[in-house]
């Protein structure tokens, strides 16, 4: 018996074995799939070649070097209509990143607040948050963008209403003007020596983080609790304020002022940016709120009770026991919400915010007629962003996740 083997008899290879023998069948299937894919792609490409030939077009990216010939209303870097399409696309990319960055921050803050408050034992607050979450989760973000955009452009007063003795609108604190052409906020003016103030600020932030780390280390090593809140606030504010006055107040503010038909000075934040930013934050915030709520609820009540039995106070239970565990559950869906927000920012095209979809995928595409090239570049950009964000967040996720074996 011992010399029998499990190997099948060594017969010669037959063609039918490609289908009937499990050793070769998967190879056959994969070969067929690969062949089918190649044929499909070849079919697409041959169609494209024929179609392009019929239309007398070719595929080339040379149009990126031509002058764009259009203006962009929000320019993080200088741009004129004489600049190239490539630079226009780059301005669009920056605008996308601006709104995505602002949106992610506000959406996180909103979401965490709404998620925690929805679990509050305060009936009115939790119901109010439930209404917020359901209202924003169940209505398309495009409709919210359009609603907020019409608030910005229709309901707010024109700059003219700020004029004269019987003006119908007034500026908030004489510094912020909410007009239908956008919101005007004071712009910082950097005088000489402001660099030192900024450096001091950066250093004090680093010092604050270092202090908090030190406090945690002391807590873990000796069990001694160092005060963190007040020292952090002090380290955060005091050196910068001191340096500000020592250097003779180098940073001033340029207030917007009504001159002629419009406001001059300050920073003009366009209604389209605000509509997009707020709508995306509120919409994504509602989703994040649900993730946060799910994360906190997933921590079993025994954890809270055990921490309470050890004599911890409620906010310490939250900070030291619940949140660190909840974060692990919250972060993966949070990453995909950030990605969703970035992808949804392409809806900017609906309100005329010149993000990369508006420049490269909108005006450049329409002007040059280079549909394949422009859409391909656009997709490539969003793919890179998506992969980038998920890579960064995965690093963070790995840092906080439960270390098992």
């Amino acid at each position: 018996m011992s010399n029998t083997t499990d190997l099948p008899p060594q017969t010669s290879f037959k063609l039918s074995m490609l289908i009937n023998d499990t050793r070769y069948r998967s190879l056959t299937f994969q070969f067929i799939a690969l062949l089918g894919l190649c044929f499909f792609i070849a079919w697409l490409i041959s169609n494209a070649v024929v179609n392009l030939e019929n239309l007398g077009q070719d595929i080339s990216y040379r149009f990126l070097g031509n002058p764009a010939g259009y203006d962009i209303n929000q320019q993080p870097i200088s741009f004129s209509s004489q600049d190239t399409h490539l630079r226009a696309a780059f301005v669009g990319v920056l605008n996308t990143l601006i709104v995505a960055f602002l949106g992610c921050i506000t959406a996180t803050i909103l979401g965490v607040f709404a998620g925690v408050l929805r679990l509050s034992n305060n009936w009115v607050v939790s119901k109010l948050m439930a209404v917020y979450v359901e209202a924003f989760r169940n209505v398309p973000v495009l409709i919210w963008i359009l609603i907020i955009f019409s608030i910005m452009t229709v309901s707010l007063p024109g700059p003219r209403s700020f004029r004269g003795d019987n003006a119908t609108a007034t500026m908030l604190f004489d510094a912020f003007a909410f007009t239908n052409r956008g919101v005007y906020v004071p712009a910082p003016v950097w005088g000489s020596g402001s660099l030192i103030v900024v450096l001091t600020f950066v250093l004090s932030v680093i010092a604050m983080i270092a202090y908090r780390r030190y406090a945690t280390k002391v807590l873990y090593d000796t069990g001694r609790l160092l005060p963190t809140l007040w020292p952090s606030i002090a380290i955060f504010f005091l050196p910068t304020i001191l340096m500000f006055f020592i250097m003779g107040r180098p940073i001033g503010l340029d207030y917007p002022e009504l001159r002629g038909f419009n406001f001059q000075g300050g920073i003009q934040v366009r209604g389209s940016l605000i509509a997009l930013w707020f709508a995306l934050s509120l919409y994504t915030g509602a989703f994040i709120a649900e993730n946060v709520r799910a994360g906190i609820m997933a921590i079993s009540k025994g954890q809270t009770e055990a921490a309470g039995a050890l004599g911890l106070r409620p906010n310490r239970i939250m900070n030291l026991v619940i949140l660190p565990q909840a974060l692990r559950i919250i972060i993966p869906p949070l990453i995909s919400q950030y990605l969703n927000l970035t992808k949804n920012s392409s809806l900017a095209i609906a309100v005329g915010y010149m993000d990369v979809t508006g420049t490269l995928g909108g005006i450049t595409l329409n002007q040059t007629g280079r549909a394949i090239e422009a859409v391909l570049l656009l997709m490539l950009f969003y793919l890179l962003i998506s992969l980038g964000i998920s890579a960064i967040m995965n690093v963070y996720n790995n840092a906080v996740k439960l270390k098992e074996r």
């Binding site: 998967s26 299937f29 994969q30 799939a33 690969l34 894919l37 697409l44 490409i45 169609n47 494209a48 024929v50 179609n51 392009l52 019929n54 408050l117 509050s120 034992n121 305060n122 009936w123 009115v124 607050v125 109010l128 359901e134 209202a135 989760r137 169940n138 209505v139 398309p140 973000v141 495009l142 409709i143 919210w144 359009l146 609603i147 019409s150 229709v154 992808k343 949804n344 392409s346 809806l347 095209i349 609906a350 979809t357 995928g361 595409l365 549909a371 394949i372 859409v375 656009l378 997709m379 969003y382 793919l383 998506s386 992969l387």
Partner: protein, 434 residues
């Protein structure tokens, strides 16, 4: 000890219990509820007051607008005349443009009964799928609905959808014939059978359409619009994306590296780009890659792209379901001697799909909301109708809140309804006894 009572020095012994007293005022009724739920601490009290104030602000702004609204006026100027400076919404735009909002502005107005009927039948068709306690015979309606719905909305000769359905029936017959032999033979046989049937039907249809002309007025895809277009895109794309998503999910879980990587690349690519870029592809790029003689209209191209988009998301949801199944289930299926199609059909997928239902419903709600994006490529769905023909008409230029509010409400009702249904279904399907 028996005379304890008699000789006791205790002056008074109660023999009956005292009637229960009501709890103190602070511990019962409304006051207790208020104290526990609204003012349990200073922070809570502040929060309560703040949120009550917020609710007051919202209601004060919206109630007069809602209650004082004008429902019957021919244009916004008449609305303003009637209101005479008072605050109030001009909801007359909804009544006046009701049909345009629902059906678009090009659908023949004497045919509105057709999409309406199709909409009502949609619920009949979905009912047996959604509520498994309903009689199973209703599933016939579900099977017939795709062809009936197509015929009702687009019209044309009835023989086109009839023979299209016939092809599926023929395919199913072939499948039944061969399923005992092998799944692969049955599956590919069914495809061949269906195509042979359609090939033959292609010759018969025009003849039959002349002999027995049962037909509705033909409506071009371009003429379909309004909320109807959102519904069509949502329902069609979801139904097509579900099987495609299952195939992609199985492919991604497959042990064959080439098939796995094809699926992974497709899924990650589609999930990495926004839907808008895919709609751009449908609008301006896809035509390049299709044969020059093929003349797909925009609606079909958009349906293709949204289906691919939704399929990638559904595939990820189902992959989660597949991964959540204990390995024992796979091994048990193998040890019973089932081959791969059998074990998937009979053991794995029924369980995996059940776990995936909440996720699939999430994707469905997201997909339905995303159908509004087609307004960006100048299709006239509900949002496109509002932004295009209605807001730019001289009669209703400036009626923003009423229109967008209506659109938001419509989507809210649909999406909230779907998510409530999914929660109900989850409770129904919870077979783990916790």
């Amino acid at each position: 000890m028996s005379d304890t009572n008699a000789n006791s020095t205790v002056a008074f012994v109660r023999h009956d219990t005292i009637p229960e007293r009501e709890p103190p005022l602070g511990e019962r009724g409304l006051i207790k509820w208020l104290r526990e739920n609204l003012f349990s601490s200073v922070t809570n009290g502040v929060l309560t007051v703040l949120s009550l104030w917020a609710i007051y602000l919202i209601l004060a702004a919206s109630l007069p607008w809602l209650l004082n609204g004008i429902w019957d006026a021919p244009s916004i100027r008449d609305c303003r005349t009637i209101l005479d400076g008072a605050r109030g919404g001009c909801f007359a735009v909804l009544t006046e443009r009701w049909n345009q909002l629902l059906f678009g502005f090009q659908y023949p107005s004497d045919q509105y009964w057709r999409p309406t009927l199709a909409f009502i039948l949609l619920f009949v068709a979905f009912a047996p799928v959604m509520f498994y306690k309903l009689p199973r015979k209703l599933l016939i309606m579900t099977a017939v609905y795709p062809f009936l719905g197509y015929w009702l909305i687009w019209g044309g000769s009835i023989w086109v959808p009839v023979f299209a359905a016939g092809g599926f029936v023929a395919g199913y017959m072939v499948y039944r014939q061969f399923i005992t032999r092998s799944f692969a033979i049955a599956f590919f046989g069914a495809i061949v059978g269906a195509f042979v049937f359609w090939w033959i039907a292609d010759f018969i249809t025009p003849v039959l359409a002349n002999l027995i002309p049962i037909e509705l007025e033909f409506v071009k895809s371009r003429q379909v619009g309004g909320f109807m277009l959102n519904m069509i895109l949502g329902v069609v794309c979801l139904s097509l994306a579900l099987p495609l998503g299952i195939i992609l999910a199985l492919g991604r879980q497959s042990s064959m590296p080439i098939i796995k990587w094809i699926c992974v690349v497709f899924i990650e690519f589609v999930r990495g780009v926004p839907l808008i870029t895919l709609l751009f592809v449908a609008n301006v790029v896809l035509a390049y890659f299709l044969p020059p003689e093929a003349n797909f209209d925009l609606v079909v191209r958009v349906i293709i792209m949204i289906t691919l988009f939704a399929a990638a998301y559904i595939a990820e949801v189902i992959r989660g379901g597949l991964a959540a199944l204990p390995t024992g289930q796979y091994e048990a299926a193998d040890s019973l001697g089932l081959d791969y199609p059998q074990s998937m059909r009979l053991i794995i997928l029924p369980q995996a799909l059940k776990i995936s239902i909440p996720g699939i419903v999430n994707v469905a709600v997201g997909l339905f909301k995303d159908t509004t994006l087609v307004s960006v490529i100048s299709m006239f769905d509900l949002v496109g109708m509002i932004r295009g023909p209605i807001l730019s008409s001289t009669d209703w230029n400036g009626v923003y809140w009423e229109l967008f509010g209506f659109a938001a409400l419509l989507f809210f009702i649909m999406c909230y309804g779907i998510s409530q249904y999914s929660q109900w279904l989850e409770r129904q399907l919870a077979t783990d006894h916790r």
